[in-house]
Subunit: 234 residues, 2 copies
């Protein structure tokens, strides 16, 4: 079946959240005269992500955006990192670090190539405004911003993958999910989407153990968006 | 209040649906050896638009996309224009004329300027895939595709304007509705959005009588997107 659209996981697949957040954490700490381990806080912050979304997915929390989940996690973590003194304005600004994540070095050039051949959309658990702000700052050339927020379901709920195909008005076999996470691809494949695994072996730092390799035969397996474009003949 | 985002009506405000649809109608007719008045069919087709949406807005029809409403109207109109012989493939292709509308001459350059200063989004009754396909073909530089389809309400229902502000995560006073239609601006203003009227005096052809001038004091009144950018100091 002819592929028409590529939908991308964003955090970790398109952008390097860990380095970006760590840098902003360290800068915010320095502004109040404190040295802290930005990478450790970034890792701890990100570790709150899945359990927080799972509370929404189970219905323990009503629909709550990632911006709001991030902020609650940040407030809970700051004391442990000696940063309880960060005031409201500084916390708001730091929470928006997730709107300003740097792309991996190959992301923008690869997306520019792929955009000539396909409709490119995000398909992220990040809220729409976060993804739009990030795209504007990082010059990510999306055709459409699709987000869990539009479906009020977080990945890997099937409603997200089904909803993306419905809004793109394409059968799932004409839509390819691109992700650095096997779990995302399993969920997409279960809804009939094509799959591309792009390895990001330092997303969680130099000692990463998860998602280093595909755990099943995906349609495409590469290590960069340039490689993805090559594989798709684009 | 600082303006952060501009949301645009699309049909008539950004693109010239009448000339574009008329051209495709005439071409489709010629392919089956028939001369027809493309402009008259375009006008009749567009005239079905508001009553069809109103059936959805009143709840007489369940949620139905513009693509589907357009197709039903086309099937009903073709016999009157001597085009009952158009086959299924030709009808499908002609219905997609609405995905390939040409921008007004000032649209793309004006949007490119405005994009440096603001987040730019569609806020159209067109479905997401229609707007995305149109943007890709016409090179409309949107940051976000927002559509009535996301809210399952058609303009001028308040849910559309409220939903746009919620997804952009902005208070309505930081969002400006840009439209060539006074009715759209009345509805946007009632929800607290800023308003810009951009006159498109030939949208309905050379004898247009409606929406030639603002019918109330909008925040900005201009006759092109270049004029809008000038007015906003962008």
């Amino acid at each position: 079946m002819t592929l028409r659209a590529l939908v991308f996981d964003v955090f970790g697949t398109v952008v390097d959240w860990r380095s970006s957040v760590a840098r902003e954490v360290a800068a915010a700490a320095r502004r109040i005269g404190i040295e802290t381990d930005g990478l450790a806080l970034a890792d701890a912050w990100r570790a709150e992500y899945v359990p927080a979304m799972d509370r929404v997915r189970r219905g323990d929390l009503p629909w709550t955006t990632i911006d709001v989940l991030h902020r609650a996690a940040l407030d809970a973590l700051l004391p442990r990192f000696g940063l309880a003194a960060l005031d409201e304005a500084a916390r708001q600004a730091l929470n928006r670090a997730w709107h300003r994540l740097d792309p991996w070095p190959d992301s923008v050039a690869g997306l520019r190539r792929l955009r000539h051949c396909y409709t490119l959309a995000t398909l992220s658990n990040g809220n729409v405004s976060l993804l739009a702000n990030m795209a504007k700052q990082a010059r990510l050339p999306w055709d459409v911003i699709l987000s869990a927020e539009l479906f009020r379901h977080y990945k890997p709920d099937p409603e997200v993958y089904d909803g993306a195909c419905r809004l793109l008005d394409l059968p799932p076999g004409q839509v390819m999910m691109v992700a650095a996470h096997n779990g995302d691809l399993h969920a997409a494949a279960a809804r009939g989407l094509a799959t591309a695994f792009v390895a990001r072996p330092t997303e969680y730092g130099p000692t990463q153990t998860r998602d280093l390799v595909p755990d099943r035969t995906w349609d495409v397996v590469r290590t960069s968006f340039a490689g993805l474009a090559d594989a798709l003949g684009c």
